[in-house]
Amino acid sequence: MKKELELYVHIPFCVKKCAYCDFLSFSAKQEEVSAYVEALAEEIKGKKEQFSDYCVTTIFLGGGTPSILEGVYTASIFRALRESFDIAENAEITMEVNPGTVSEEKINMWKTCGVNRLSIGLQSVDDGELKMLGRIHTYDEFLTTWKMVRKAGFHNVNIDLISAIPGQTKKSWETTLRTVAQLQPEHISAYSLIIEEGTVFGTIYGEDGERICQKELLSRESSMPEVSDKDGNIRKDRQILPLPDEDTERAIYEITEKILREYGYERYEISNYAKPGYECRHNLGYWERREYLGLGLGASSLIAEHRFCNTDKMDVYIRLNKTVDPDGKKEESKKAVWEKAEEVSVLSVQEQMEEFMFLGLRKTDGVSEKSFFETFGVQIDTVYGETIGKLEKERLLIKEKGQIRLTERGVDISNYVMSEFLF
């Protein structure tokens, strides 16, 4: 039987970078896009030999904004994928979509390519909040996209939301949740805003997301870059608002699960909710430490307990994946797949155990004692008995029916809990 493999394909292009985003993305120039897609297709084809004994169970086109690609580019990526990998018939194939980059023609192409799941970045239904985040679309523009994808027959769709947006209140978050839940997508991701270094928000609010007072914020207003919408019109009506205070943030967090449950969604991971049966298999794969191969700029992989990632420099990436003579390619294909990667770490058993815990605990079900034993040949209590006992006492973990999972409080401060599992 073939081994299972997940594929992640990175499309680093966006119309414009959002104020909170620290992913590897930048605005696209047409010639760069075409050169990138060409290199990407080459990279994909180069993996053929090395992964001939694998069967691909999920594909995730993430970004950036994959939906920014013209249909022909999307088609050539999938052509390369299907030529090079054995893709299971029932594979989950997801593509990220941002409102304002979608056309009927593109949607039809996605269908043709075999994409069967879409993930739409909405973030909020409040146009003011969308502006605040530096999104290029309004809620109405999202609705247009939504109707198009439903009409085209996509029946497995996720909507991304962000809470704790500057200026957000408990009420406006509740409105966002209910409005979106009423649309009944199959899956909702509700992330809490994190202020990252090197982003616009990082500049304004401080790297650690420290809460600063209104007065100080005003003084930083001048550093706020101008915002232009997708037609290039500069919007000057954005003002800097403070981040929600701690109590609001907590309240926002607490109502999320409650409200979504009303509409038939179950939380299955810290930030993810789904109708039964619609959990994102690809993402679960990360938490369950299944093997995955990252393709494209800066993409990370886990293969045979090696974690490695591609270069994040566009010129280097393109140079490395130029069409070369077939003999050279063949030569290369005999080597281990991580040999070309810039950074490789071979995970020790200890590190594998750590990951098993801190990734597994993200799931609402938590980790299974049985599967720990099956994976490592040692009882979980032998390794982590003391830690688990301590965290149980602190009411951060619950041990039940062979599963160990976070309590509500444990979810709140999951970084603390997870760090306890590092050696």
Partner: protein
């Protein structure tokens, strides 16, 4: 050179304000007298402890002998005795000076005369040394040698007209200095046939030779086999070896006679027996009286030193024992703290001494330390007539048993440029200083005289002084005895539990303010934990300040995008790493940094 003509010996030292280039000049003298080739020269050969070189200060006095062929065609033997440059080591300075016949005074051509310049010159004059001024750093663009010459004449009152203008850094005019040493430093006196009388000005411990005593022979002669006697400590041993100092090494010789500077080894195991300032004599033919000026140096400042990792306690003890072999002024005894476990209460000459020991322990012995707030020695007069010396706040008796308390005072001299006089006077005022007077030493610079409680200057006074004068103020102090004072013990309670390592003695009038600042500082330093933590300051049972560390806020890494797990791992590792540096006190984890941070509370 077994028989040495006394008239060809020159014993001298170099004195200077910190950073005026004393060690660099020493390097040049050694270099230009030909004892070392340029290639052998490590920069600043005299400061051979790594730490000294890094900080650019001399901690232990060092000595070197060189031979100089003067312009008159004669060869002279130079004994250059390096002196420590800081107030904490004042006594060592004074003993080094007593071993010399002359002193070179180095003054920075840009900075001019500073507080320690004065202090050191007075010390030298006290020892009847001839002082030769030298103006250094003339290569600096801001150098103003003429002004500095005038300053030396006006402020210090010594002739500076023909002071050599040099740059120790570039080596310019060093020859002038050498010639003046020959001409102006008097040759030593003393009768080689008289009973032995030698001054100990330093001693070091060597694992092969045992204690090595550095001394200046005032009268008589010492050689292998001489039964020597330390007149103050009473220690006796037969001399194993005598010799002189090469740069960085010892050169054995036949004998040391009156006028010479050299070393003596005997199988002594502890530097405590060879106290600086003591007189060495011949037990079989002792001299009639010891040299004047010996005193036992006592620690002025105490603090607790604890290993960050409790298991390293034996290592810390070993390290302290080894350091003590070379540093008779360092004292320590075992103590336990509820918060910090097993450690030592250590006594130091002053704050710099404390810092140096702490750094040497961390660097040379690879120990991670937690230091408690430094304390001075308080005298507690109990109602039953008993008087106790209190070095650890934890041992303070019940207030009901205390009649009154006394604290040590210092006479402080602060030299400052006129625009900062106000700021510095404010600072001294805040630190309970009593103004004694002010003298303008020139148009724009003045010396402020204050009486200050020692406990007000051992925390962060020096930092505050520098920051409030933009580095322009310099400071010197000497002890002036005890004074009755209103003192209380301030306790810190974290999550309602008293943390002994954070207790300290404070002037009653400052308790409220200090308590408030400490709570605020601790609030910053103690990370949020699973539950809310009250931080309180208390005097007796009365709570005088309170802060609260809120419970841990939401702390979730929302997104693990595209399977970038290493990033998440890094974040978790950072969190974990932070925890390792914590001390468990009751149910609260306190970062080690917090214990130290409370030492720096000055808010300007």
């Amino acid at each position: 050179m077994s028989v040495i003509d006394q008239s060809k010996i020159r014993n001298f030292c170099i004195i200077a304000h910190i950073d005026h280039g004393k060690s660099t000049l020493a390097d040049r003298i050694i270099e230009q007298t030909g004892l070392l080739t340029s290639r052998e020269m490590q920069s600043q050969v005299l400061d051979n402890m790594e730490l000294e070189r890094e900080r650019g200060i001399t901690i232990k006095a060092q000595t070197v002998r060189t031979v100089y062929k003067a312009d008159d065609g004669e060869e002279y033997m130079f004994n250059l005795i390096d002196t420590p440059g800081h107030v904490d080591f004042n006594y060592e300075v004074s003993r080094s000076l007593a071993a010399c016949d002359g002193a070179i005074l180095v003054v920075d051509a840009a900075q001019g005369v500073e507080a320690q310049t004065l202090a050191n010159v007075y010390l030298a004059l006290d020892h009847d040394l001839d002082v030769i001024p030298v103006i250094n750093k003339i290569d600096l663009p801001s150098a103003d040698p003429e002004r500095v010459k005038e300053e030396i004449e006006d402020v210090i009152g010594i002739e500076a007209e023909d002071a050599p203008l040099i740059s120790a850094k570039t080596g310019q005019n060093i020859h002038d200095v050498l010639e003046q040493i020959v001409k102006k430093v008097p040759a030593p006196q003393g009768d080689p046939k008289a009973p032995l009388k030698a001054l100990i000005f330093d001693s070091v411990y060597d694992s092969y030779k045992g204690v090595i005593v550095f001394c200046r022979i005032k009268e008589g002669t010492v050689k292998k086999g001489t039964p020597m006697l330390m007149m103050a400590t009473g220690a006796q041993a037969d001399v194993v070896e005598v010799g002189t100092f090469g740069a960085g090494r010892f050169i054995p010789c036949e004998e040391l006679s009156a006028g010479m500077v050299g070393y003596i080894t005997a199988s002594l195991k502890n530097v405590k027996e060879t106290r600086v300032g003591d007189t060495v004599t011949d037990a079989s033919r002792p001299c009639d009286s010891p040299l004047p000026g010996y005193k036992k140096v006592n620690p002025m400042v105490y603090c607790g030193l604890y290993p960050a990792d409790g298991a390293k306690y034996p290592d810390l003890r070993d390290a302290l024992e080894k350091l003590q072999l070379n540093d008779a002024a360092l004292q320590f005894e075992a103590e336990t703290s509820v918060a910090l476990g097993f450690g030592f209460r250590c006594g130091f000459l002053g704050l710099l001494h404390l810092e140096i020991i702490q750094e040497r322990l961390e660097r040379e012995y690879n120990l991670d330390l937690v230091t408690t707030a430094p304390s001075v020695i308080y005298k507690i007069h109990k109602t039953n007539g008993e008087v106790i010396d209190l070095t650890n706040p934890t041992n303070m008796p019940d207030p009901a048993e205390i009649d009154y308390m006394e604290e040590p005072m210092v006479k402080a001299e602060i030299m400052v440029t006129s625009e900062y006089i106000g700021a510095i006077m404010d600072l001294c005022q805040e630190r309970r200083g009593i103004y004694q007077g002010m003298e303008y030493i020139e148009e724009k610079r003045a010396v402020l005289n204050y009486h200050l409680p020692l406990n007000e200057i051992i925390y962060d006074f020096f930092d505050a002084l520098k920051s409030r004068s933009r580095g322009y103020a310099s400071f010197d102090y000497e002890m002036m005895g005890y004074q009755k004072s209103e003192l209380v013990k301030l306790d810190i309670l974290i999550n309602k539990e008293e943390v002994d390592a954070l207790s300290f003695i404070v002037f009653a009038g400052s308790a409220y303010d200090r308590g408030r600042k400490m709570c605020a500082k601790l609030k910053e330093e103690i990370p949020r934990q699973l539950f809310e933590i009250p931080i309180q300051a208390a005097v007796g049972s009365k709570i005088i300040a309170r802060e609260t560390v809120k419970a841990m806020r939401k702390d979730v890494l929302a997104k693990c995008y595209g399977g970038d797990i290493s990033r998440k791992r890094k974040l978790l590792e950072k969190q974990k790493e932070g925890k390792k540096r914590m001390r468990q006190v009751g149910s609260v984890e306190i970062p080690q940094k917090a214990f130290m941070s409370v030492l720096k509370l000055d808010d300007e």
